[in-house]
């Protein structure tokens, strides 16, 4: 699993945030794919990839981050893709999130974001 073969899936309903995260990671040599909600993200996980990491926002329309995690964990084909939560919520409810790799609290800075991605990609 490496940055040459695998992509980072960036899931956030805010277009500006998606674009900036993707830009920063692309400049560091990572491949990125963006999704605007949990539904799109599940679709991409199942039919795209391979992915080394999902950067997951929680509060999103259509399908939120918690629901995304429940469906991801229920689907053996995609359950193992590591997930890092990136959220503006102060203390998000972790009970429904399952085994995530960590949480980045918005506003996230460059070093923290890069550190999280480097650990998995």
């Amino acid at each position: 699993m490496g940055k040459e073969t695998h992509s980072v899936l960036v899931v956030d309903d805010d277009k500006d945030i998606r674009e900036i995260i993707c830009d920063v990671l692309n400049d560091e040599g990572y491949r990125t794919v963006a999704a605007a909600d949990g539904e799109e993200a599940l679709e991409l996980l199942r039919h795209g990839g391979p992915y080394c990491l999902v950067l997951l926002d929680l509060m999103m329309p259509v399908k939120d981050g918690w629901t995304f995690r429940q469906e991801q964990q229920a689907d053996p084909a995609i359950a193992d893709v590591p997930v890092f939560v990136v959220t503006a919520a102060g203390s998000p409810d972790r009970t429904q999130l399952g085994a995530i790799k960590g949480i980045l609290h918005k506003p996230v800075n460059f070093k923290d974001l890069l550190g999280a991605v480097q650990a998995f990609c």
Binding site: D16, I17, D23, M59, A88, K106, N109, K111
Partner: protein, 681 residues
């Protein structure tokens, strides 16, 4: 005629004097029967009974000196004297004698005097003895407590006074058995296990002091008596009688009960903010000390009432009452009782429930029968008030407990109801305060989330720039990236402005700077700014303007109105076409923004214009929950209105109606700032 009567009908004197031996014989037979003694042993008593009859004769002849025959021994047991009196009246009856009231009183007086004489020390001079007896009689009659003296060991009542006759009625008669004096028992003990105080004194010589007994009066109501009793002994220490003294403490006891209820109720009301449970417990507290029935009825919005609590000691009676209420539900239109109190807030007191009231309340024969069976005696009902409104009614009713409510009871019960009202009001204030705190916390959480999003974009861009510069790399500072950064700055500015608006509007003022402007043109400008966002949301944004849409408005504020409505539509109805229309409506301009999104349920349609409210779940959609509230405040400040037409699954249409000229001109029309109090807040 008088002579005829006197010839054919003997007088009581005739019977006593002429038929003396017959009377004595009759007495001996009865007395032996009652005591089980032998005739041979009775000669001294027969002699003394004869002496009593001699006195009786003198009394019937109205000789004042009748009592002065002190040398004659009349010391007979009380039972013997009572039996002698019975024998005299029986003999008179069988002789067909005419009995005048005066004659009957004379006989009774002699017997009473003999009873008292038997208790007097034998060596007291006659004059003094007579005086003492008169004084004792006067004292007993005037005493504010009931006094009963019974003979030992027979238990026959020898002497009563005025208070005892008032308290025990016809049963307080000399010669009666003291056991039948009253039906009652010691408070706090089962009736069967508490012999009456007087019986205990009589049986064992016990001295009873201040024992509280509960007795049933002739009319079925209860009285509380403070009882004292003890033995009366002769010179040799033998018990010859027992005395019982009874103080009627019913009123005092009822007042104590009421005060205890007030204290307990106050503690109860202060103990919890859950007023429904509290009021149920309150009803339980009133029963049985203050009432046999206690009900709490709460007013409903439609003018009717609902029974929150009903208490009675007997569960069967409760079931009965519930069944009664099901069969004959209360009529909210009646002009008495709970419905009237709910309307007027005036308390009602029925010291006695009149038959007419039961007749008026009965809806049919069966109902009347049931109401009569309930045996309701007295009732009072008071309003439970808070903040100038009648919230409910607290009712107390007595049935077999026999209490009759007084104005004092009404005052105390009203005091409890007022405290209950205060408790309900406090609970409501507490709930409101809790809700306000929750709303504020939710809002702070949402506001923090909203501010973090643009801050995240800025932070990431700037920290990347710094990290790369420090690493000796050339950071990308293209115009495109700078524009993106700037967009985040604008986004934060908008959020901060909204927060400032909240603060300004919360204090009740919104500064307007009005000029003549065209709403159609303004809408066109705003829509152009949304072209990129609309494209991202895959929504087609259209505008149609008809007629003259120029008015005297605040440009910045109206831009905010159009912006908030369009950005809401793009947020909640992304992917559907959004149609903005600006139309001339005579003296007003109408702006509408329609989408084909998920729509808003009817229950949410009012709420969405409130501060910090939203119809969509916060997990799915960001935003401060302020947009529509701010729109409403701005529109109201311009004298206009906003409404929504929507149904789930059928999209939403927000309609803003803005008068072209404000009715009250407060600005000079050249952009001078003025302040208006927003309506509806």
């Amino acid at each position: 005629m008088t002579q005829l009567v006197s010839r054919h009908a003997p007088s009581l004197l005739d019977v006593v004097e002429a038929g003396r031996d017959g009377v004595l014989e009759r007495w001996v037979a009865r007395f032996l029967q009652r005591t089980g003694r032998l005739r041979e042993d009775l000669s001294p008593e027969i002699q003394r009974a004869g002496a009593v009859l001699t006195r009786m004769g003198a009394a019937l002849r109205q000789q004042p000196s009748a009592k002065g025959q002190g040398d004659v021994d009349v010391s007979l047991p009380g039972l013997a004297l009572m039996t002698l009196r019975d024998a005299v009246f029986e003999a008179a009856d069988s002789a067909g004698a005419s009995l005048s009231a005066r004659d009957v009183m004379a006989v009774n007086r002699v017997i009473d005097e003999a009873l008292v004489a038997n208790q007097a020390p034998p060596d007291v001079p006659l004059e003094q003895d007579q005086r003492s007896r008169q004084q004792l009689h006067a004292l007993l009659e005037q005493l504010p407590v009931a006094v009963v003296i019974v003979e030992a060991p027979s238990g026959l009542v020898l002497l009563t006074n005025r208070q005892s006759r008032l308290l025990f009625g016809s049963r307080a008669t000399p010669g009666a058995l003291h056991e039948t004096l009253y039906d009652g028992w010691t408070e706090g003990s089962p009736p069967a296990e508490s012999p009456k105080p007087l019986a205990r004194s009589l049986g064992t010589g016990e001295l009873v002091q201040g024992e509280l007994i509960k007795v049933r009066r002739d009319d079925g109501t209860f009285a509380y008596l403070r009882a004292n009793s003890g033995p009366i002994r002769d010179g040799s220490g033998n018990m010859v009688a027992a005395i019982g003294i009874y103080d009627d403490v019913t009123a005092e006891r009822q007042h104590e009960d009421a005060l205890r209820f007030l204290a307990d109720a106050t503690a109860l009301l202060a103990s919890s903010l859950d007023y429904e449970t509290t009021l149920r417990n309150l009803a339980g507290l009133a029963v049985p000390h203050l009432a046999d029935w206690c009900a709490v009825e709460m007013a409903k919005a439609d003018g009717s009432s609902e029974q929150l609590a009903l208490a009675h000691l007997d569960p069967k009676k409760l079931e009965f009452a519930e069944e009664l209420r099901r069969r004959y539900p209360p009529d909210p239109a009646v002009d008495t009782g709970v419905p009237r109190i709910l309307r007027t807030g005036e308390a009602e007191l029925y010291e006695y429930i009149p038959e007419a009231m039961i007749l008026a309340a009965a809806k049919d024969e069966d109902h009347l029968r049931i109401l009569r069976e309930l045996g309701l005696r007295s009732a009072l009902a008071v309003p439970i008030r808070a903040g100038g409104h009648v919230l409910g009614v607290l009712s107390l009713v007595s049935d077999e407990g026999g209490r009759h409510y007084s104005k004092t009871d009404l005052t105390i019960t009203q005091e409890i109801a007022d405290r209950a009202g205060q408790a309900i009001e406090n609970a409501a204030l507490y709930r409101d305060a809790q809700s306000a705190i929750r709303t504020r916390e939710d809002f702070l959480s949402v506001a923090s989330h909203e501010l973090r999003t643009p801050l995240m974009a800025l932070n990431l861009q700037v920290s990347t720039f710094i990290a790369r510069s420090e690493a000796g790399q050339t950071p990308d500072i293209s115009l495109e990236k700078m524009k993106r950064l700037y967009a985040q700055v604008l986004r934060m500015t908008t959020l901060v402005n909204q927060l400032l608006d909240v603060s300004q509007l919360a204090t009740g003022t919104l500064a307007l700077s009005c000029t003549n402007l065209d709403l159609g043109a303004l809408a066109k400008d705003v829509i152009e700014r949304f072209s990129d966002t609309a494209a991202d949301a895959r929504s087609a944004l259209s505008l149609s303007v008809t007629g003259s849409t120029t008015g005297f408005w605040d440009r910045g504020r109206l831009e905010q109105v159009v912006t908030n409505l369009i950005s809401n539509a793009l947020k909640y109805a992304a992917g559907t076409p959004i149609a903005v229309r600006v139309e001339d409506d005579g003296g007003a301009a109408r702006l509408s923004v329609a989408d084909q999104g998920p729509g808003i349920a009817l229950v949410d349609q009012e709420r969405i214009f409130e501060r910090f409210e939203r119809a969509a779940p916060v997990r799915s959609f960001g935003g401060l929950g302020l947009g529509l509230w701010i729109v409403k405040q701005i529109v109201s400040s311009h004298g206009g209105s906003i409404s929504v037409e929507s149904a789930p699954g059928e999209g939403s249409r927000f309609i803003v109606q803005l008068p072209k000229q404000r009715k009250t001109r407060e600005a000079d029309g050249h952009g001078q700032r003025d302040a208006l109090r927003p309506r509806g807040r």
